[in-house]
Structure formats: C-alpha cells, structure tokens
Symmetry: C2
Subunit: 358 residues, 2 copies
Amino acid sequence: LVVARECDDARGPAVEIIDQTRLPHELVVRELVSLDCAARAISEMWVRGAPLVGVTAAYGLALGLLQGASDADLAGYAATLRATRPTAVNLAWALERMLVHLRPLPASTRASAAFELAARLADEDVEVNLAIGRYGLALLQSLQERALRKRSHLAILTHCNAGWLATVDRGTATAPIYAARDAGLPLHVFVDETRPRNQGASLTAWELQQEAIAHTLIVDNAGGHLMQHGEVDVCMVGTDRTTREGDVCNKIGTYLKALAAHDNGVPFYVAAPTSSIDWSIAAKDIPIEERASDEVTHLAGVTDAGEFTRVRVTGPGTTARNPGFDVTPARLITGFITEFGVFRPDELPLLRRRLEAR
Amino acid sequence: LVVARECDDARGPAVEIIDQTRLPHELVVRELVSLDCAARAISEMWVRGAPLVGVTAAYGLALGLLQGASDADLAGYAATLRATRPTAVNLAWALERMLVHLRPLPASTRASAAFELAARLADEDVEVNLAIGRYGLALLQSLQERALRKRSHLAILTHCNAGWLATVDRGTATAPIYAARDAGLPLHVFVDETRPRNQGASLTAWELQQEAIAHTLIVDNAGGHLMQHGEVDVCMVGTDRTTREGDVCNKIGTYLKALAAHDNGVPFYVAAPTSSIDWSIAAKDIPIEERASDEVTHLAGVTDAGEFTRVRVTGPGTTARNPGFDVTPARLITGFITEFGVFRPDELPLLRRRLEAR
C-alpha cells in the first residue's frame, strides 16, 4: 500500500499513502514529502494499523534524512516519529531496525540506505502476512466442518481493521480470510463497527466489499448476543502489542469480545506478526493512548445530498474519555496466528526460543 | 413526563410527549391525538424506555376509545399497540392492566375510565421509581466507603437510558443516582454512548447535564478497560424484561458490560420495577427486536453551522444486522433494585410470593 516513488519533478521523493480518514467515502492518495508530513500522517491517522504505521515511520525517517543525516538528526527524527502514537510496538520496532542499520553508515549514504531498508520492511510485511494467511487458512479449515453442520458458511467476527489497509498488503486478521476465500471456503464476516473511529464500518467493510467477501456490519454491542446464539464460529483480531505472557493490547473493546467468546466457547485468535510481540513489557506497563474527546462526540459522513460533513452527535457540553486500546488477558486467547505458525499463549516462550535461534 | 391534557380548542384531547429522537439538539414536545399517533410515537421511538412505552400505550388506548369503544375496538387497539415493539414487557403489562379494567365497563364509559387509569399508571410509575431510588441510595451508600478510599467519588457506569426520559419521572437506573445526589453523596457517572441509537450520548448525558451530575461519555467499547483499571465501583442498568430466573433482557451490549463487571469483581445491578419481570417466560423465548440497518449505517447530529442533519457513515453498499437487545444471564447479576427492595436473582421467588400475597 505504501509506495515510495521518485517524483519526476523537482519536489524530491514522496511516499504515497491512502488517506484512511476519508474512506469509505473517497479514495484519496496523499504524498508524504517530509518527516513532519509522515509524523502527521501517523498521528492524525491518515495511516493506521500497527504494521502500516511501522513501515510509514521507516519511510518518514528516510524522508527526514534527505534534509540532514547527522547522528543527532537520526536520533531526533526517530524521537519525533516514536512520539506520534504510543501504544503499538511495531512503530518502535521498525524505527529500531532502521537505527541499528543506519547508525554505522556514513551520513552521506544514510538516506538512500534508509529508503532501501524501508522498502525491505514493506516487502517483509507482505511475506509475513502471506504466511499468517496460510496458517490461518489451515485453522479455519479445521473449524469448517463444525460450522457447516449449523449453516452454509463459516462465520468470523472481527474487530477494528487489521486488513490490508492496516498493513502493506493482505492484512493480519484478514489474511486468513483472504486465503480462505481463495481456497473456496464459504465464509461470512461480522464486522464490528469499532467506535469511536469506526475502522470496522469505514475500513474493514469497505475492504471486504472490494474483495467481494460476504459480510455484515454490527455495532460493537452486538457481538456478545450473536455469540450467545451460536452465530459466530471464531473471532479473529489483530494486536498493537502482545506481552511475553500473551496479554494482547489491541483496539478498545477487544477485551469485551474476548470475554464473550470465552463465555460461549467461541475460539478467539489473534493474527499478528511476531514483531508485534514486546518481549520486554508487562501488560500493566503498556502505555494506553488517550485520544481526543471529539472523536467520540463528533462523527463524519455523507449527507443525502452527497456532501461530506462532520456532525456533533451529543449536546454541546458533553465531554468524553477516549482510551484507544485495552488489554485482553492471555487466559481469554485461544492462540496467536503468526508467520511461524499458530501458538497458544503458553507456547510463546517456545516461539521466543525459535526466534532467538534464527 | 407524559401529560394528558384537554385541549382548549376543538381538536379533542391530546397527550404531550417529548420527542426523544430530537434530543439533545432540540427539545420538541409533540401532541399525540390518536391511537395511530401513539403507536407511531412508540415504534419510531419518539418515546422509548420500557416504563414510558407502557404508559404511552395506555394513553394510546384511551385516545383510541374516543373514536369507538366496542369490545372489538378495544381488542383491536390493544393488538395495534402491542405490535409496536416486541421486547419490553411493560408494554404488554400496561395494556393488560387496561384491558382487565376496561372490559367489564359499558362502552360509553370506557374512554374516560381509560384516561383515568392511564393517569394512575403514570402516577404509580413515579412512586415506584422513588422507591427504587430509596433502595438504590442505601446500596450506593454501602459501596461509598470502599470507593472513597480510591478517589474522591463513587463511580457508576450505566448503559442506554433508564433515566427520567425512559419513565414518567426519576428513571429506574438513574433514580438511585438522583437520590444519591440529593443525599450529598459525591458521584461520577460513566455514560455508555449505547450504539446504535446513542441513547446514552443523546439522552442520559443530556439528562445528567440538566441535573448537574458529573458525568463522562464513553464509547461502548471502553467500559471493560475502565473496570480493569478500578475506575468503576458499580454498574447500574435498566431492563426491558426479566425472567423469573433473573435473566435480564436489556439494550444490546448490556451482556458485554455484565461480563466485564463479573470478570473484575464490580457489582452489577439492575434497577427496575417489578412490572418488568415476566414470570411466565424463559430467556430463550423472549422476542428480540431486530431493527433497521440504517440505524447503524446512518447517524444524526448538528453541523458546525448548527444545522441538524443525517449522515451515512459507511459506504453506500454496507448493510447491518441490528438486534436491539441481548439477554444477560442471572449468574452475572448481583441484584435487582425494585420498588420492594433489593433482591439477588435467587431471591426472585421470594419476591414473587410477596407480590402474590398483596
């Protein structure tokens, strides 16, 4: 999704991104031409989704290095980008990979090396998600028989957007869905609208529509009811940061869905690259981003006349708390679908040893 | 809130209601002048909230009887009103009380008797909610000490609107809040916005603002996170129908909050009149109203220019499932705050014997 390109005019290189704040109403592609522009794209959520934020930050660093590439510049750019969003670990992970690679290089070669590594991170993200899709497909196939005894398809519930808009391609939580579609498995996706920013309603529903995958939008309140009535076979979500114990920090409301899945014997899977595991942190120490009140009190949409507009849905004096993420305890997670296979939370130490042995 | 009044012109009697679909942006009072008008007020949710719907239906029946008062008319009116909304039991309960009272009367006196009984039901609702407030206050006082060790106030989370807008006055779930405010207990209310119709954001927040009670709006996704972090001392909700086993049918999403409360040791109370208990039904047989898709895909609000407008927040092709209610199993309910005191779910048979002995 993120494409670095050399502009053919004098403006210098730019990174093209889809402005996700305009979807599903308009498909707007923006050019990020500077570090500040990339930082703004992340903090204002033109790009969002942990893996895509990581890659965008990598390109942001590269854009910055075109203006100055001293050690101090490098450290300053990384600090600026790291401060844009505190919760997802991929951002810090991508910047750290960039810094480790770039610090030993002479300043004169850092910018071009940065663009190369950013492109490699983007390519890797595609590969990782394809692998997640393969392992997730096998898992969905194992759930298929039981589902098809109840109805004509496998029903998946997902929260927020961990689709190709959240990554460079394929998505994490949606990679198994696309793989299942390609394999001819009949499926239907319940899409949590995911208040306050409606990533499900605006992005996941739009993505699935583009891909011609059957889906139904639901309010975040409805998932528990559907699970109580046997209408959901599996929940699949992404993660912004997972602890070594397998506690999952993800979009606010994930915890409530995991509770309902556990209460109704519905398997609850987290599909994510191993780069989203933070081996160093405990759940209580993950910084939870608190965002602005007006994300709750105001909503954007299109009027009957086709005009894009923003409305206040509350009274003028109403203010909101707006925590962006919650932590789902490992005891509610059935497994992690990673690029190296599916692991139960208690198998994460095994995964860690495998990663360290590579 | 519902006031029957004799109009001073030739239009005949009318029942004044607040059109809740316009709040918090406008305070619009509408006059219901016929049975059909009352039925429309209920089905289009100008009035909503189980107790208020019951009283409005009673007045609707009275308005109908002005046009014709035969046995067939009576049965027909009741059937029309009963069909407006299937889930809440107060509607059927109020109509049944009306029918039992009116059937033995001669047709010529039925209309005036109906207005009298409707007024009595309204008065009773006020009394019932005052009693709920008294018992709820005692309960909040018992929770106060532990809360004040953590912070300067008692924190209550509520879902949907079970406030005075949902009843004739005081509300059910809010009656203890108003009683606590009157008693000088420091409190703060977390208001679930309650998608899709936003009764929390539009109605509860507006009500609490009118009453100068400290409150914060949150998205429905956020309550679990707040409970995990010890920020909620008690949950208090209403009910549309409670079974004899203590299973609680209430606004969609209530079940998810009850799961989170249970998972975090937060007491979860249902404040409701005994008329909302359906002693005859099992949870699986409660009809769950499925409402229109566009309640999810569209939202109304006020633009920066102050214009009231409706916007579509999803892509044009997106459709939604929209179940209006869910059922919270009795095992997740701490107690019922009724007009006769506080009862645990396993004490409902005791309550039933008390009611039958009256």
